[in-house]
């Protein structure tokens, strides 16, 4: 087959208009030729004999008349052992390798293999010759760090055909491109299976039995989340917030402490420096669950804000595809995307260049369905072998002007299961994490009893009412009972909802401790108290807050922990009104 080659006739930013002769496919990959450089692009619209392509690189220097080579393949990623611990760009180029090859700067047109070709993996066959298999069935495994990495029948094989195992390789060491099995269908067609397979990023991997409703909590060890606005394994949540309110810090904390097998970080159109923190720190940090470094369970896909815009869009799909791949192995995967707004903006930029009719704030009309389709790739699934796997997606949203009444936030809120809305007011007051306790919500189940949550929320709402009222009538116009309610709400906020991300103990609160402490605090909230004056009440709560914060900073169940708890009990008993 001869090559399908077109010719550039228009360049506008990263949008090319290309004249072509032979058939082209929507979303196929093409390379724009700048001298010897091949710049990766994707077909995003076809009109007559003109195809419009978004280029995943800077288009500087491309000329009218330059050749474009169409490949016929959809934008795909490599899936196989060796993905974990890596740092990829949006097109799955390993960045450290790229640095070895090109030095300090990202050179356009350099594409490297995502998986190392020379590394050998210890393969153990599982499938038997003659066995009937479906896409997604396990043929064998290789150990990848702490995981048993399943080598599966390629997802791309047609489900309609009956595939039987023709041969399986013996146990031994294989490189990713070595053939480890041969499959045959009823038409006598054969395919070779290697450790690596390819899959187009924009299509979900669906090689499982069924999707289930997410019910099990995904513990993040952040109190306000697990207790008040929980996330479920296989669920979705979003964190909208104005700049500097703490979205990235929240995600960084989650990537460290969340109780999942694998974390995929999609750094999408945000700061390179933030990725560097993860990149440099995770190899040094120990994962308490496994005793290995955090990096071994982490994978970063980063297309930071100064990298080419079109690859930003690709990066979230690359990340979610890899997450789905590990879910197929019966693992719980958490995908953290920061920020989905940057990806939406990439869509907007392309839409503008395509001169499509714009929707609100110039975002394309299809924004909502694109966002919905992305979050739909999360889910808890039962695999063919009965084991369960999940992909949980948490995305930050960066609304213009910090105003949630904008298209990306609104489209996201329609599809997610939990909403952690960050507020400027709280971050200005350094009340971290700045998740707004009155406006946020979650449809998932908490790790503490529901009635306790309801009680705490009640106190927060009433405390807020009193505080609003006090702005009108002043403290002197507020009854002591109301004033105490207000102080209780502030207390709950200060000692439970707020958490010191940089304190070795307070930064992460395991579920047992959360249940214990929350129970204790709810009992304090329920305690009827009497004070001589408002000032006396305030002084009491200031002291109680101080001591309870010290409690949060003490090691769980240590002598200090017990000692402080005793002090808290004593303090509360002194003001309790048993009348």
């Amino acid at each position: 087959m001869s090559e399908n080659i077109g010719k550039i006739i228009g360049i506008n930013g990263n949008l090319l208009t290309v004249e072509f002769e032979k058939p082209v496919t929507q979303n196929e990959v093409a390379y724009a030729m700048r001298g010897d450089l091949r710049l990766k692009s994707e077909v995003i619209r076809v009109r007559g004999r003109h195809a419009e392509l978004q280029v995943f690189e800077e288009t500087t220097g491309l000329r009218e008349g330059d050749a474009v080579v169409f490949t016929g393949e959809l934008l795909s990623v490599e899936l196989g052992p060796g993905l974990l611990g890596q740092v990829f760009d949006g097109l799955q180029n390993p960045l450290p390798k790229l640095a070895e090859k090109c030095g300090f700067f990202l050179q356009p047109g350099v594409y490297l293999d995502a998986l190392p070709r020379d590394r050998r993996w210890a393969f153990t066959p599982i499938a038997k010759v003659g066995q009937v298999v479906r896409p997604g069935d396990t043929l064998g495994t290789v150990p990848e760090g702490i995981f048993s990495h399943r080598i599966m029948v390629p997802f791309a094989l047609s489900k309609e055909r009956n595939w039987t195992v023709d041969s399986v390789a013996m146990a031994g060491e294989y490189a990713v491109e070595d053939v480890i099995a041969r499959l045959r269908n009823e038409r006598n067609e054969t395919v070779d299976v290697r450790l690596v397979q390819r899959w187009p990023v924009k299509i979900p991997i669906r090689a499982y039995e069924e999707r289930l409703r997410p019910t099990e909590p995904l513990v993040t060890q952040i109190r306000i989340i697990d207790t008040m606005f929980p996330v479920a394994r296989g669920g979705t949540y979003c964190i909208p917030g104005p700049f500097g309110a703490g979205k990235t810090v929240l995600q960084q904390l989650t990537s460290r402490y969340a109780d999942v097998d694998i974390v995929v970080i999609a750094a999408c159109g945000e700061r390179a420096g933030e990725v560097v923190e993860t990149l440099r720190e995770f190899p040094e940090l120990q994962d308490p669950r496994t005793g290995r470094t955090l990096m071994e369970r982490t994978l970063i896909v980063c297309n930071t804000s100064s990298m080419p815009v079109a690859a930003r869009e690709a990066s979230v799909y690359t990340a979610v595809t890899i997450a789905e791949y590990y879910r197929q192995m019966g693992l719980n995967v958490l995908l953290l995307a920061d920020s989905t707004s940057r990806w939406a903006q990439a869509l907007r930029e392309m839409s503008g260049r395509l001169e499509e009719i714009p929707g609100e704030e110039a975002f394309p009309a299809y924004l909502e369905s694109v966002i919905a389709a992305f979050y739909e790739r999360a889910g808890l699934v039962r695999l063919y072998d009965g084991s369960m796997g999940s992909v949980t997606i948490g995305g930050t949203v960066s609304p213009a002007g910090g105003n949630f009444e904008e298209p990306v936030t609104q489209s996201t809120l329609k599809v997610v299961g939990a909403f952690h809305g960050l507020s400027r007011e709280r971050s200005d007051q350094r009340r971290y994490p700045a998740i707004h306790p009155l406006e946020s919500w979650s449809k998932y189940e908490s790790i503490v009893p529901a009635e306790q949550v309801a009680l705490a929320r009640g106190v927060l709402f009433r405390g807020n009412d009193v505080s609003q009222m006090m702005k009108v009538v002043g403290e002197e116009g507020t009854s002591i009972e109301d004033f105490v309610t207000y102080l209780k709400a502030e207390y709950l906020d200060a000692v439970y909802l707020q958490q010191d991300a940089y304190h070795p103990v307070d930064a992460a609160t395991p579920p047992t401790r959360q249940r214990y402490v929350f129970d204790r605090i709810v009992r304090i909230l329920k305690t009827k108290m009497s004070f001589e004056s408002r000032d006396a009440a305030r002084r009491f709560f200031q002291r109680l807050t101080q001591v309870t914060k010290d409690w949060n900073r003490s090691e769980w169940e240590s002598g200090e922990f017990r000692e402080i708890e005793g002090r808290i009990n004593k303090m509360v008993a002194e003001v309790a009104d048993y009348a």
């Binding site: 006739i9 506008n12 208009t17 930071t304 815009v309 907007r348 930029e349 002043g474 914060k549």
Partner: protein, 447 residues
């Protein structure tokens, strides 16, 4: 060697259109009209029609002006000969000195591979407590000063630049008032810093499009010096003028605006510049301090808003002070754990109490009775503003931390501050009570 075209088909805004073939995207051209010669850059190619933005503006360009394509994109010379020199936005000498042609480098190059960055680790000391204590500046940080027109942002910029320990200062001026330009030049000269400075100045009187080049030129030069192991500080003032120039071109090109007339790619455009701030693995660094004036004192205006989403915090300048609210250094936690053990606690506690003070002020304005606690807060707020926030205060970090403890002790009981008991025991100025009794005693003896 390069083709010359004589027929300009369209002139609109500062964009001209010619029919041309074989032209590269972003290639430069020279446009010669009876009025003079200007550089222009290709911004769109469409079926043989090439749009160029003309740096000197389109005024005076006629349909038969000459357009000569140069076969390369925008370049700037790079050598030590740049030090102490002043150039225009397009790199022409502005100081009467000779033009420099050596070692041309392309501007607006690719971004740094994140794998080649390191975590910033050096504090930049400024002597300003509102920065050093509360929002520590860190080498390789990108940080704007958000300000309304009329605030002393340029003097502040100059002061930080002069106190910071860096090897090189590059000033990129955009739409700078001529007086401000002279202010920078004279200040750097007076303080003996001119010889380690390079200035790329676009003044309000210069053609608008030239303003677009200033960040790229400044940062391209900075990058080369940083690769040679130097610590470079880039000052960009005022980035709002840069954004307005972008807006003007976008509107001329009939792009659909996303927000208040600004193009949808404003975020990407700004990010591409700000992200040049870097701490290189095995080489130097670039720190970027910029000024973003806020039209109508509105942080949600697209320019400060998009900027805030890109930079690593911001200093919010208002009423001649760096406001504790709204100001933020996102890199502070990378350094403030290693300054002094009470640094973080002082930083958090003082801000939280200052927030309470603000609430009390509101209550007071409503005419409510002030409780004992309110009165403490009022005293605290006043002392804080006088002794710490005033921009004239110029003290080292350690002294500022001590001052923080003194102010707290003057106003509160330890447990009212929620400071960890361990730190209270170590740092709370106990002596005060003792000193007071001590000073009271001689008086008693005397009578």
């Amino acid at each position: 060697m390069h083709k010359v075209y004589h027929r300009i088909e369209r002139i609109a805004g500062n964009v001209i259109t010619v029919h041309a073939t074989g032209v590269g995207y972003r290639e430069l051209a020279q446009v010669t009209s009876p009025r003079g010669t200007s550089l222009a850059q290709v911004i769109r190619i469409e079926g043989g029609r090439v749009d160029l933005q003309v740096f000197a503006g389109s005024r005076g360009i006629s349909t038969d002006s000459q357009v000569r394509f140069l076969g390369h994109t925008m370049q700037v010379p790079f050598s030590d000969a740049l030090l102490g020199r002043i150039f225009t936005g397009s790199g022409q000498p502005r100081d009467g000195g000779p033009a420099i042609y050596e070692n041309l480098i392309e501007i607006g190059g690719p971004s740094v591979n994140p794998a080649k960055r390191i975590i910033p680790r050096n504090m930049v000391r400024t002597g300003i407590p509102m920065i050093d204590v509360f929002n520590t500046l860190v080498e390789s940080q990108k940080l704007p000063i958000f300000s309304v027109a009329g605030e002393p942002y340029n003097p502040l910029l100059a002061r930080i630049a002069l106190q910071a320990e860096v090897d090189l200062i590059i000033l990129g001026g955009m739409g700078l008032k001529y007086d401000d330009y002279l202010f920078f030049r004279d200040t750097l000269e007076k303080e003996g810093a001119l010889s380690r400075s390079i200035m790329f100045i676009h003044t309000a009187a210069d053609p608008v499009v030239e303003c677009l080049l200033v960040p790229d030129i400044s940062l391209a030069v900075a990058e080369q010096f940083a690769l040679q192991n130097r610590r470079v500080l880039v000052l960009l003032t005022d980035m709002t003028n840069f954004c307005d120039a972008l807006k003007e071109i976008a509107i001329t090109m009939e792009q659909i605006p996303s927000n208040r007339g600004y193009p949808g790619d404003l975020y990407s455009q700004l990010a591409r510049r700000y992200e040049k701030a870097v701490d290189f693995d095995t080489a130097g660094s670039i720190t970027v301090l910029a000024v973003t004036t806020m039209p109508g004192d509105d942080v949600t205006h697209p320019v400060p808003d998009n900027t805030g989403y890109i930079t690593e915090g911001q200093f919010y300048l208002r009423n001649g002070r760096i406001e504790p609210f709204g100001s933020l250094s996102r890199l502070k936690q990378l350094v403030n754990a290693r300054t002094r053990e009470d640094h973080r606690t002082i930083m958090n506690t003082m801000i939280q109490l200052y927030a309470s003070y603000k609430e009390t002020l509101e209550k007071q304005a409503m005419g409510f009775r002030m409780s004992q606690w309110d009165r403490k807060l009022l005293k605290y707020g006043q002392l804080f503003e006088e002794r710490m926030m005033d921009l004239r205060v110029n003290i080292p970090l350690e002294r500022a931390l001590d001052l923080g403890w003194e102010i707290l002790a003057e106003c509160f009981e330890p447990e009212e501050t929620a400071i960890p008991t361990r730190l209270i025991e170590k740092f709370w100025p106990r002596q005060r009570a003792e000193i007071e009794t001590a000073s009271a005693q001689p008086a008693t003896v005397g009578t």
